[in-house]
Structure formats: structure tokens, C-alpha cells
């Protein structure tokens, strides 16, 4: 059964969209990430215009991260001060990201640029995640317990403030910069950015694991909400029907995924995830590298 997506301007199978939402929902439930970095490339690969994929996915991530945030806030797993400092950078990052997005659109390069940024960012994350999980799997076999190191290289920066919930006394410069970078990528790529934000918070900012997910969700929920508004207002590329169908699939998938998680160890999941991420990178990369069927592309002049 097909449904005509009003902004994408094309009919797409409802089951396919629910399935993509469901599949990435399962993974996000297992891994505690939003899954936008898989959903957006999948939408592009099934033929949704890349800009519409990015804008609509922002609305989907906004909804699903708000739902996660509510759950974490109830359990008190959110460092509000840390979240607000991240957001100071994140908000600025979202606005900067939109400016870059619009510049690339004007230059007629936005579609390829989205794929290229995905290949570079996801490729890096996938390789790092794969190597890290392989090391962890080997440690597990050898029976070595691993503790993430807590010290950071960022001492001596100004504007130090206490983050009580995280038990840290540190400069606000690193979290503002982290929030900014994630905000830029989030807006251009149509993702929450958890796959960068969570490792950065653990390894760079030394935020304790139990508040990382809740606090990162605060940044993700607000930044994708801002990104949704900016995309809709300036690019008219947010397809609400597309976002809604993805969300329905994802909400159900996430519930199943969070139960599946107990069956696998963290490093096993990360290893599978790395494989999946690299697969998406290869598919998007091939589209960029292989000669196109027809080298001429047509765009509407507004």
C-alpha cells in the first residue's frame, strides 16, 4: 500500500517506511541512540530527495528524543546545567548548520554534500567503533576488566564551573564546543548526533555513564526541535507524514530493541553496529564514486 508524501512529492510504500522506522527503532532501543544516522541514509537510498530526508528525519528524532528525555528526566538522569551549557553551543551550531545547508543548496551541491558528509563522519565513527569493540571483545576473551579513563586533557581552560550532577568542576569551553559541533552536524545530516555526543561526553568531558544518555537527550531533543523549525521555515523540506510514519515504526521498534539488549553484551552490539554503519557508508559512497547512469541532472528554479 502506497502513500503520497506531500513534501517529498512522491508515493512510497507505507510498510517500507514503517519497516525502516521499526528496524532503526530496534537498533536505537538496543544501543540507546536515536538512529537518525541510519534512517536518513536509508531514506536517501530508497529515493527520497536528500534534503527532504534530512528535514523530515529531524522531526522524527525530535519526537523520539523527547520521549526518551521524559523517561530519563523522571529517573533524575539529567545534568541540567551540563545540558544547558551543551545547548548554548548546540543552538548556535544548529543556526550555523542551517546557514551552511542553505549555502550548499544555493550552490546546487547539497545532495552530494549530504552523502559526502555522511561517508566521512559515519566512516570515521564506524571504523573507530569497530576497532574499539574488537579490542573490547579481545579483552573480554582474556578476562581483563576495562575502566574508561576519567582524566581529560582540557585542564587550564577558563570559565570553570561546577557540574554537580556529573561530579565535575570544569571549564564550560569544551562542552560548548562539543555542543556546537554536534549542532552543526545534526542540522546538516538530519541526525540527533548521539553517536558523536555520547562518546565525546564520556571520553572528553568525563560525564559519568548514568547521566550521559539523559543529558545527551536534552541536547538532542532541543537541537533537533530547533533544526525541525529552521528546516521547515527556510527550506520547506520537512515532510510531516514521512516523519510520523517513521516515528510509529520506531516507537514500537525501540520497545522491542530495549528488551533485546539484555541478550547481547555492549561490545557485541557495538561491533554489529559498526558493521552496519560501514555498510551504509559503502552504499552511499558507491553512489558518489560510481559513474552516474546519466550525468545530467535537472533542478527546478524557484
Amino acid at each position: 500500500m502506497e502513500i503520497y508524501l506531500p513534501i517529498a512529492g512522491m508515493p512510497v510504500s507505507i510498510l517500507l517506511l514503517l519497516g525502516i522506522g521499526f528496524g532503526t527503532g530496534i537498533l536505537s532501543g538496543m544501543f540507546g541512540l536515536g538512529g537518525g544516522f541510519l534512517t536518513t541514509p536509508l531514506l536517501i537510498l530508497i529515493g527520497i530527495p536528500p534534503t527532504v530526508a534530512v528535514g523530515s528525519e529531524a522531526s522524527h528524532i525530535a519526537a523520539s528524543s523527547v520521549s526518551g528525555l521524559v523517561a530519563h528526566a523522571r529517573r533524575g538522569n539529567v545534568d541540567l546545567r551540563m545540558g544547558l551549557v551543551l545547548l548554548a553551543g548546540g543552538t548556535l551550531g544548529a543556526i550555523t548548520g542551517l546557514a551552511i545547508f542553505r549555502l550548499l543548496s544555493r550552490l546546487g551541491q547539497i545532495d552530494d554534500a549530504i552523502s559526502l558528509i555522511y561517508v566521512v563522519v559515519l566512516g570515521t565513527v564506524g571504523v573507530l567503533m569497530g576497532l574499539e569493540s574488537l579490542r573490547a571483545l579481545r579483552r573480554h576473551r582474556l578476562g581483563i576488566r576495562y575502566r574508561p579513563s576519567r582524566q581529560t586533557l582540557l585542564r587550564g581552560l577558563p570559565l570553570r564551573v561546577p557540574f554537580r550532577r556529573s561530579g565535575r568542576y570544569m571549564s564550560i569551553v569544551p562542552p560548548v564546543l562539543t555542543g556546537f559541533v554536534v549542532g552543526v552536524l545534526s542540522t546538516i545530516m538530519g541526525v540527533g548526533g548521539g553517536f558523536i555526543l555520547v562518546p565525546a561526553m564520556i571520553y572528553l568531558l568525563g560525564v559519568p555513564t548514568q547521566v550521559v544518555v539523559g543529558t545527551s537527550l536534552l541536547q538532542i531533543a532541543v537541537v533537533t526541535t530547533i533544526a525541525t523549525f529552521l528546516h521547515a521555515a527556510f527550506n520547506q523540506n520537512v515532510d510531516l507524514l514521512l516523519g510520523l510514519l517513521l516515528l510509529i515504526g520506531a516507537v514500537v521498534g525501540a520497545q522491542i530493541g530495549s528488551r533485546l539488549m539484555v541478550q547481547l553484551r555492549g561490545e557485541q552490539i557495538r561491533f554489529l553496529m559498526a558493521g552496519l554503519v560501514l555498510l551504509v557508508v559503502v552504499m552511499l559512497g558507491l553512489n558518489l564514486v560510481l559513474p552516474p547512469d546519466d550525468p545530467f541532472i535537472v533542478e527546478r528554479v524557484l
Binding site: A63, G108, D112, Q236, L241, V251, V289, P291, R300, V301
Partner: protein
């Protein structure tokens, strides 16, 4: 349902045409009508068939041309830049029909001379400016042809018993909304004998149309709606699964 309506309207018009023909046989060399004067793009839209039919007073060749609303187009050539295919410089094609289809009862070559076809602009290539590089021009026409937006002589106009004719032109899934001109040309011995024009309206309807219009005309309000909906659905999902 719509097939029923099509069949009913076809029968009604054919009956009307027959009556008309009986009353005034000499004045009307050709009668033409569309089964549907409006095509709706709704949630279930995956393309549509446009059925045109008519009657001739005498034998002749029939050519049907459907022209969609004008649109401004630019073309880029993908160029291998350091191993990656990136878009090259933009070439403005100018204003072209967003949809263009020609169907004929015989091959166009046999119906009208090249000069007459050029005068009548009876091919896609006359619709596209000759001022742009030929490769870009051909690339654009190829692109629109592949998407089913430009079709020339893909389906025949069927003439039944030398008097009745019909043709079904398919509108693809990405049919642009707007006002279409459906032109029926009657040729006899290589000259244009008669011409009729029918209007066709392709329009978005329902919830899709509401969303599209809002997104285009009031983007800030649409953005607020998107944000409010996303937040509301997120909170709802959290509540629904709170105890699960």
C-alpha cells in the same frame, strides 16, 4: 468507483455527441472530451490515466497533445572531481512545460510535413530553448522522458471505424499540479483541418494539499506545527510506554 464514474461519463458524452452529431452534422468536424476534467492528487495517488475520446465527421488523422503548466528548469552535468561525481555549473534551460505528451493515430512523419510539425511545435525539442549547449538540452529531455513527464508517440490514438477515436495518456506519479492544455488536432491530407482545446486541472486535495500549501505558503507556521506535533507525539509515546 472512479472507473465507474469514467464509464458513466464516457457513455453520457458519447450519447450527447451522437445526438449533437445528428442535429448538426455539418458544423462540427470533430468532437472531443475528456473522461475527467479534474485529476486529484491525494494520499493514494500513484499516477493516473487521462482518457480522451471524440468523434470525427470525416476520416482523418488525429494528434493529441497534452501540455502541463510551465516551469523554470536548470541542468547540471555531473563531473568527476577527484574520484567523486559532483555537480558542475548550472545551465539555465528557461521556461519549459512541466509535462508534455503527444499521441498520434499514425506515425507523425506520415501525418504532417516537418515544416508543419515545426510550425505547430509538435515535438518536445521545439519546447526547449536552442540557446543552451546541445548536451545539456538532450540531457534535460532524457531526464524528463525517463520520469514519464515527456512522452512522444508512446501510445497511439485509436480510431474506431474511421469515426470514433480514443487515447489514454498516462500521467506519472510525480505529475505536477496545475492547469493542463489538452489539444486535439485533426489533419487531412497533411494539412491541419481542425483544432480543439480542452482544459484539465490537476490539483492536490485533502490533507496532503493542506500540508503542502501550509509548508509552501506559511513556512514559519508549518515549522511551529511540526515542532508542536513532534513534541506532543514524543511525550505521548513516553506516557504510553511508561508502564510497559
Amino acid at each position: 468507483m472512479s472507473r465507474w464514474r469514467k464509464a458513466l461519463s464516457l457513455a453520457a458524452v458519447l450519447a450527447g455527441g451522437a445526438v449533437c452529431g445528428a442535429n448538426a452534422p455539418a458544423q462540427m468536424p470533430m468532437l472531443v472530451d475528456l473522461a475527467n476534467h479534474r485529476i486529484h492528487i491525494d494520499a493514494a495517488f500513484t499516477g493516473a490515466d487521462l482518457l480522451l475520446f471524440g468523434a470525427l465527421e470525416q476520416r482523418g488523422d488525429v494528434v493529441v497533445r497534452v501540455v502541463g503548466p510551465p516551469t523554470d528548469i536548470a541542468v547540471r552535468q555531473k563531473i568527476n572531481t577527484g574520484g567523486i561525481w559532483l555537480n558542475g555549473d548550472r545551465v539555465d534551460v528557461g521556461t519549459v512545460p512541466s509535462f508534455y505528451s503527444v499521441a498520434a493515430s499514425r506515425p507523425l512523419d506520415d501525418i504532417a510535413s516537418p515544416d508543419l510539425r515545426r510550425d505547430l511545435e509538435l515535438d518536445v525539442r521545439y519546447q526547449v530553448s536552442a540557446d543552451i549547449p546541445e548536451a545539456h538540452r538532450a540531457g534535460f529531455i532524457r531526464n524528463f522522458t525517463r520520469r514519464g513527464l515527456y512522452t512522444v508517440e508512446q501510445v497511439p490514438v485509436k480510431i474506431i471505424g474511421g469515426r470514433l477515436f480514443r487515447v489514454t495518456i498516462s500521467l506519472p506519479e510525480e505529475t505536477p499540479p496545475g492547469e493542463y492544455w489538452v489539444e486535439t488536432l485533426l489533419f487531412r491530407e497533411g494539412t491541419l483541418a481542425h483544432r480543439r482545446i480542452n482544459r484539465l486541472l490537476v490539483e492536490r486535495v485533502g490533507f496532503e494539499s493542506f500540508l503542502f500549501d501550509l509548508a509552501q505558503d506559511r513556512p514559519a507556521e508549518y515549522g511551529l506545527l511540526a515542532v508542536v506535533l513532534a513534541l506532543a507525539m514524543g511525550v505521548t509515546a513516553a506516557e504510553v510506554f511508561r508502564r510497559v
